[in-house]
């Protein structure tokens, strides 16, 4: 039997969480070391999975299957394809850097890391699940710890409000999606939750058209689709740094990924029918999100709304239902995940020392934290879609997909690039360069070595993918071909 690497990746965090809970709560260093060891182990395995995935063979690999509840046709069934393998790597990277960044969490670190790791298990699980029930199972695991992480460790001013808002939005979304999923289960007549089997269930076109919006929007709420996006900036801002990284970096991809896997792949006719108007919503995401980000004065809200804008591009890529669009969306999920994790890490580092996120009050941060400034600039260039960075590699095919399907959308969506450039440059100029205010002169100092490691890892990934897209693109392309096959070779 082959080594069950995906299960090991998915369950490493939760096992580590249990182990961490057994350590006495006052031995903070040991707790942190244990967390770091587990995260490093999971990252190592996800890197290994990424590079051992056979792009030529494509399809689902590293498959494991155990019967779980045979009476209902539920099995523990996991595997990765070209779409999900980069996302597993993304989750591994964000988990690793998230632990590094959270070294300074001093309030009950034991529980903090335990919840964070339960969240991580849920995240990994969704990306690898090939069984619809398992997907929901892991999805709920991922959402629940979020509430506690925000409500307990979050920003004091809005944490209760934001945590409640986020949880309600996401639960409502998942309930709606669950209704759709159960509909599929019963309508298929196959008596199984196996998604590969459901792919060939031959749902009638009418059924698909009715159920698709349930499934797609149910999940896309977590992907931040307009007009259901407004939980996300509040949630991002209220969450502690590592949770924001996870949240914007990985959790939003969970929504988009599930919307693709369950919505588009299982209900292709429904997707074709509805995408022509859904794409307008994503256009609003992209352009309106960028405008709203531009007018924010809170550093973290800018990044929060920029996520709305960038996730709009992912969903827009899906909505084109073309090869290029899906390819771009796949790469954008990875690229945006790393980029936004980097952004939130930077915001956290600045806030930890300055105790304010008001852009007009900040300035000259570069002098105290040069590496943080460089990392933000790299993230900013990715965000602007600057060629040579991963954002360009992702956004370019999305726009090509638009040309193939809805050319006029491309003309409007492209406005967001200039607006993004405007708000990113504004932050770089004001927060990192600019004049350092008197009150910060004394007590701003450089970040910890571990923080630097996290920043360097994330920045390096963004540059590598940007300069050498061959490292990721053929893999995502192989995943896209599978989607296209289900869409009828569009």
């Amino acid at each position: 039997m082959q080594f069950p690497v995906l299960s090991v990746i998915a369950f490493t965090p939760i096992v580590a969480a249990i182990f961490i809970l057994l350590i006495p709560s006052d031995r903070k260093t040991e707790i942190r070391a244990a967390a770091l060891a587990a995260a490093t182990f999971a990252l190592g395995l996800s890197v290994w999975v990424y590079f051992s995935y056979d792009v030529q063979a494509s399809g689902y690999q590293f498959v494991e299957r155990y019967s779980w509840l045979p009476q209902l046709g539920i099995s523990y069934f996991v595997g990765v394809d070209g779409m999900s393998a980069p996302l597993v790597l993304l989750a591994g990277l964000v988990m690793f850097t998230g632990v590094l960044i959270s070294w300074g969490v001093d309030d009950r670190p034991r529980e903090f890391f335990a919840f964070l790791f339960i969240l991580a298990t849920g995240v990994f699980g969704v990306f690898i699940a090939l069984d619809l029930f398992m997907l929901f199972f892991f999805y709920e695991i991922a959402v629940f710890p979020m509430y506690l992480l925000i409500a307990i460790w979050g920003w004091k001013v809005t944490r209760e409000y934001a945590a409640m808002k986020l949880t309600l939005y996401l639960f409502i979304g998942s309930v709606i999606a669950l209704v759709g999923a159960l509909g599929m289960y019963f309508a298929s007549g196959l008596g199984t939750f196996d998604m590969i089997a459901l792919e060939s269930a031959n749902f009638t076109a009418t059924f698909q058209k009715i159920v698709f919006p349930f499934v797609f929007f149910g999940f896309a709420i977590l992907g931040g689709i307009f007009p259901f996006h407004n939980w996300s900036p509040d949630g991002h801002v209220a969450a502690p740094t590592a949770v924001s990284m996870f949240h914007a970096g990985v959790l939003m991809k969970l929504g988009a990924f599930a919307a693709l896997r369950v919505g588009i792949m299982l209900l292709p006719e429904g997707a074709k029918f509805h995408m022509s108007w859904i794409i307008i919503l994503t256009l609003v995401n992209v352009v309106y999100g960028a405008f709203i980000a531009f007018v924010q004065t809170d550093f973290k809200y800018v990044i929060g709304f920029s996520s709305v804008s960038h996730m709009g591009l992912v969903l827009m890529g899906f909505a084109t239902l073309t090869s290029d669009g899906l390819l771009g969306a796949g790469v954008q999920m990875f690229s945006h995940g790393i980029m936004t994790a980097l952004f939130f890490a930077v915001v956290g580092m600045v806030y930890d020392q300055a105790h304010t996120r008001e852009i007009p009050k900040l300035g000259g941060v570069r002098i105290a934290m040069p590496l943080v400034a460089v990392a933000f600039i790299i993230g900013g260039l990715v965000s602007m879609g600057m060629p040579g960075f991963s954002g360009f590699v992702a956004e370019f095919p999305i726009f090509m997909g638009l040309w193939d399907s809805y050319p006029w959308i491309a003309w409007v969506a492209v406005i967001s690039i200039v607006i993004t450039a405007a708000y990113i440059i504004r932050i770089i100029g004001k927060v990192f360069f600019g004049k350092i205010p008197e009150e910060f002169k004394e007590h701003l100092h450089d970040v910890r070595a571990l923080d630097k490691v996290a920043l360097v890892v994330l920045s390096a990934v963004l540059i590598i993918v940007g300069i050498y897209p061959t490292i990721m693109v053929p893999m995502v392309q192989s995943g896209v071909e599978n989607v296209l096959r289900l869409l009828g070779g569009a």
Partner: protein, 517 residues
């Protein structure tokens, strides 16, 4: 040696990046070491370019020294580079100006390491534009160059001066850098969309294939007639390049950016960055859109003439020496665009060949003289800390060597026969005359004012009553500064007296590339 000749272009392109990485490993406080290492490293691409020039065979049609690597396979974009006579000239200009700029930057004291690294990255961006034979790779480098330039202006720009925007007072350099990047990026958006559309319609980004295929694409694609799409894409390309050149009325970012940039930044901005726009017209617009270029050539020609005239008038109206030189770029680059527009209108004629040759040579010449002029302004500014022409006065008596160099360079810029500017402007005018006679006559008006503003500059600085404040405060141009300007002066004279060595390369490339019989 074989490795070097096989990968010559890649080596030229990426040596700057390697240089930047090497600099990263030098301690930040070793200013002197960093400067010298940067200078030596910047000479490598120049040496390789000279080797390239020597081994380049002008008689052989087509792109030479091509290299091809897979880069982004699902959308058929690859790393494809090559040179012909047009790009070779531009590459030489870039690799020549970079070491001079670095030498000119020896007076930079603030964060020398970062400054030099940015400069090398900028050089790579510019070289990439000239070398790319793939539309997507071209765009990558095109955009990439903006970033280091933004920081050079924003961080090392002139510290004085403020601007009031919407009631808020901000540093002039912040304003100028922001304007520069937003303006250029906005121009690039249409270019990006057009490139994507070409990719979707043809399925490739490779320029050599596109030159064959794109002009003849017909029918209906994406539900829109191809002719409409092409016209839209044509304007998108034109707008992006017109902003970069800059063509009147898209030039307003330029005086601000030039004035606020550090000396070497202005040198490279005027010397090479503006050429990216002209090169874009030559390499992409004319061959990809022959029909549209011909149809709209008159409009472009008109804008070029407006640039020549208003650029000269505006330059004459300035009292800030650096702004005067900045507006002179608008004036001189107008001739490049005028030559291109005329050639587009009457492609396949002898006149068009002459106009195009003139345009390419004018780009090279303007690169030399604008870089030299900005350097001389910088030299003066470092000593006097003012750029106000009214505050100099009679300096010839105090700094005769500087004065002589300034007069020489100004004359090259003015187009004095025997120096380089004359050759190229003459070629452009000779080529354009039979095609756009009226425009040629109008442009003479601009040329007349070119003389006026150049003389105004010389008079303000060197002649007139001596401003006594400067006695004992101003020092003569030093040997390092002479070393910066000397190669430029030699080339100005050389091209002015014997232009055949460079015109031969340009001429054959133009005839081949535009398939002029």
């Amino acid at each position: 040696m074989e490795f070097i000749s096989d990968h010559l272009l890649t080596l030229i392109l990426f040596t700057p990046v390697i240089s930047a990485v090497i600099l990263m490993f030098i301690a930040g406080d070793q200013d002197k070491l960093i400067r010298w290492v940067a200078l030596v490293l910047s000479l490598i691409p120049l040496t390789l370019t000279i080797y390239l020039w020597v081994n380049f065979n002008p008689d052989q049609p087509g792109f030479q020294f091509q290299e091809y690597y897979t880069w982004y396979s699902p959308i058929n974009a690859s790393f494809h580079v090559g040179v012909d006579g047009i790009s070779l000239t531009m590459v030489l200009l870039t690799t020549l100006l970079t070491p001079l700029c670095i030498l000119a930057s020896f007076t930079i004291k603030d964060r020398v390491k970062t400054y030099m690294i940015l400069f090398f990255l900028l050089q790579m961006g510019m070289l990439g534009v000239f070398l790319s034979l793939d539309l997507l790779i071209f765009f990558v480098f095109w955009e990439f160059g903006l970033v280091p330039m933004y920081f050079l202006i924003n961080q090392w720009g002139s510290e004085k001066g403020t601007r009031t925007i919407f009631g808020r007072t901000i540093n002039a350099r912040t304003y100028a850098s922001y304007k520069f990047i937003i303006y250029t990026m906005a121009g690039s958006l249409g270019l990006l969309l057009a490139i994507q559309m070409i990719g979707v319609v043809t399925g490739t980004f490779d320029l050599i294939e596109l030159f064959q295929m794109w002009p003849s694409v017909e029918g209906v694609v994406l539900g829109i007639p191809v002719s409409t799409l092409k016209a839209a894409a044509f304007w998108a390309f034109v707008l992006a390049f017109a902003i970069k050149v800059p063509v009147w009325p898209f030039h307003t970012w330029l005086p601000d950016a030039h004035t606020e940039a550090p000396t070497a930044g202005s040198m490279i901005l005027a010397g090479v960055l503006l050429k990216l726009g002209g090169y874009g017209f030559l390499r992409f617009v004319l061959p990809l859109y022959p029909v549209e270029s011909q149809r709209y050539a008159i409009i472009l020609g008109f804008l070029a003439v407006m640039g020549i005239i208003w650029g000269a008038f505006s330059a004459y109206g300035q009292t800030d020496f650096k702004r005067l030189v900045a507006y002179s770029s608008v004036n001189h680059m107008g001739f490049v665009v005028l030559g291109i527009a005329a050639a587009a209108y009457a492609i396949n004629t002898q006149d068009a060949t002459i106009a195009l040759e003139g345009a390419v040579l004018q780009m090279f010449n303007h690169g030399l003289s604008a870089a030299a002029m900005f350097f001389l302004v910088g030299v003066l500014y470092e000593r006097t800390h003012t750029r106000d022409l009214d505050k100099y006065g009679g300096l010839f008596a105090l700094i005769p060597v500087y004065g002589a160099i300034l007069i020489f360079t100004s004359m090259a810029s003015l187009g004095l026969p025997g120096l380089n500017g004359f050759i190229s402007e003459f070629l452009v005018v000779r080529g354009v005359w039979p095609i756009f006679t009226l425009f040629t006559i109008l442009s003479m008006l601009g040329l007349f004012f070119t003389g006026a503003y150049i003389l105004k500059g010389i008079k303000g600085v060197l002649h007139g009553p001596l401003n006594k404040n400067w006695i004992g405060h101003i020092t003569e141009i030093n040997p390092r500064e002479v070393l910066v300007i000397a190669p430029l002066m030699i080339l100005m004279l050389w091209i002015g007296v014997w232009p055949a060595w460079i015109l031969d390369v340009i001429n054959k490339a133009v005839i081949w590339f535009y398939q002029i019989n």
